[in-house]
Symmetry: C2
Subunit: 407 residues, 2 copies
């Protein structure tokens, strides 16, 4: 059987990551090695670019510029929040047929994975030969079947570096500090704040993730205890924390909601949750200096802070996607496995239905019993993902001088 | 005349910076070269540590650890917001006398400079020989007599890197983005966002600083125009923007205030201003995707993002402070001059009264005529301060593919 001849189409969907461009460059460079590939197109603004036939010809890019783009955060092919239904997919499919697209690679999260699944099914129904492969990315680290997701390590590194700075700042001018980290349903990224701990009294002292119901009274008791012990308290909170009934704390505290096109509550791009939690502490515990920062878009796009390991893996999932399609002639979702603890990865391809539209949560052994911190298991899991040369803090160790007036 | 023999005391005041520890290490290492220095003490938590005799002996630190601390952000000797009055200063003075402190170096902003001035005057009145020198630091860049202040370059670099990422993110998923940057009265740090521009259509497209009255109607017209042109709009706003009557926009939009111990309005540690401006745009222009991030404490303490030039200068102002005190036997405030445009600095010592308690603002030639952006003069001024190897963004340059269905 001769190999399937035609064009490759690659696109990016959903929120950007610091290393997502590595994956499209991995696709573009690897695909050029196969003679059955007639051209490599990129769709601009994800699936929307496909229905609008908004393609660029990546075979007319230079290798040098591709490499520079690979080292640039965010989605160089631009992105979309569109989540295609059957009719939308049918239009995509029509455009792909018109351009003789035979290989479709979509870099994205679980929504994007679901899009690949639908397109793949429609192609089968139409008897149109199309290889469709989902390439994983998400700073939330919430894709099923994956040990971890490309993009997570770099965002986790940003969060860890941020909390290292916060620890120093909050020690210099003590108070209660709340850092609100992205993560609607999965707490991995918030949990990564724990990697900022070096000294015994370093924060974050409390970490709240969406996997555990958030209880305001318990929260206040936690803060009260830490503040009494250390004279300060550093807290990491997932934007998606919810109460025991699954009601997001932001809507509970605010009573107001805003949803995006997918029906998701707007949690990012607003400092509301941090401010509401600050007020809760000020009122409940009568502590004067309470501050919050919402890390917002910085944690996924800040230039100059990424995990080298994450970048390499993001490149490799792009390459592997092409290899699975070309050598094995199969569809699916590329996943990352970790066969050894410290540290090596393998790549595999699983059926799209195993990843599409599903959310992976933090396993129980990553969260402490009291639901306000992480375990050593999580630390061991997360540490290698942050990459090499993580900046660390140092303290003075100069001895105290004996007092003369206040003996 | 034999040199004044006694101890050196060094302390840090006010908000931390990414390079403030360079200055205390500059003091500690330089002071060891002078035989009249019997010991070098550090005061813990600034002036508060002085009245409480909370000293550590920096002559019992290792050089290696001092160097590691110098490379760590935030105030290693810890800080304070205390602003001493005459009585407070008298207590400081008593502690210094008890410990035979003859050289006092205080690293801080204009409030700290004022403290040095009072202590200096009290020492003169009491006929107590004390050299008192203020060492500049502030991310706000608002100290009189200085071309720029240690700490600014690194914070400016963070802001520039953040907006480089924001540009990429807001291009991938277009909308209106507002980044709120520190700066109560001086807009230098917010203006540094302009250094994120590489491509012609890069943001920030609009920059609002406290030096110009903020007008909500003009703001909405600005955003409307940019959004119509680009389909997106990226905005940098100083936390301290105020209306024509000097009323801070945050209190105007919120009608609620919170002040710190100095009577300053709380502008940091809250996402309120960004959220209020977002709502103003959503309501006023009917744009759906409007997001804001408040850079908060990250811009002054994030580890792993600093200007090498800034770090070197922060070290040098510490060294020079010691040299002025020891070789010239004078008091004052160390200042940085820039005798040439690109790029060299000189250090000078000016009377404390020229810096103490005063605020420097952006000069008129740094702000554009319409008050919503910066000039080429500012770009030339700021660019070298960010240091070497600033990460930059790259875009794909692949040509568009001819449409088939939508011809």
């Amino acid at each position: 059987m001769s190999p399937l001849e035609g064009k490759v189409l690659v696109a990016q969907g959903g929120g950007p990551t610091p290393v997502i461009n590595q994956s499209i460059v991995g696709v573009a460079l690897e695909a050029r090695k196969f003679s059955q590939v007639t051209s490599i197109y990129g769709a601009v603004h994800g699936v929307r670019g496909i229905v609008e036939e908004n393609f660029v010809d990546l075979t007319r890019e230079t290798t040098h510029n591709l490499e520079q783009v690979a080292n640039t955060p965010s989605s160089a092919l631009l992105s979309t929040r569109d989540k295609p239904d059957e009719e939308y997919c049918a239009r995509m499919f029509k455009a792909m047929q018109a351009h003789d697209i035979r290989y479709f690679f979509y870099v994205g999260g679980n929504d994007s994975s679901d899009t690949v699944r639908i397109v793949n099914e429609q192609a089968k129904e139409a008897n149109y030969e199309l290889r469709a492969i989902h390439i994983p990315k998400t700073i939330d680290n919430d894709l099923m079947e994956n040990d971890h997701c490309p993009g997570f390590g770099s965002a986790a590194r940003y969060v860890a570096q941020a909390f290292t700075g916060v620890n120093l700042d909050n020690r210099a001018l003590p108070g209660v500090y709340i850092g609100v980290v992205m993560g609607r349903h999965a707490g991995f990224l918030t949990a990564a704040s724990a990697l900022a701990r070096k000294y015994l009294d370093d924060g974050p002292h409390l970490i709240y993730v969406p996997e555990r119901a958030f209880d305001t009274d318990k929260f206040l008791a936690d803060v009260d205890r830490i503040y009494a012990e250390h004279g300060l308290c550093t807290i990491a909170v997932s934007e998606g924390i919810s109460d025991a009934h699954g009601v997001p704390m932001i809507s509970k505290l605010m009573g107001e909601e805003e949803r995006d096109d997918h029906g998701n509550l707007q949690l990012s791009g607003s400092g509301a949750l941090g401010d509401l939690l600050s007020q809760t502490i000020k009122k409940g515990l009568n502590i004067k200096r309470v501050r919050s920062d919402t890390f917002g878009y910085l944690q996924r796009s800040f230039i100059g802070c990424r995990s080298d390991r994450d970048a390499h893996e993001a490149r490799e999932v792009g390459e592997k996607a092409v290899q699975f399609a070309m050598w094995d002639n199969v569809d699916g979702s590329v996943v990352i496995r970790r066969p050894v603890l410290d540290y090596s990865v393998d790549y595999d391809l699983v059926p799209l239905s195993k990843v599409a539209g599903k959310t992976r949560h933090m396993p129980d052994n990553f969260i402490n019993e009291t639901g306000n911190g992480v375990t050593e298991d999580f630390m061991n899991y997360c540490r290698p993902l942050l990459g090499s040369n993580l900046p660390i803090s140092h303290r003075l160790r100069a001895p105290a001088v004996a007092k003369i007036l206040h003996k």
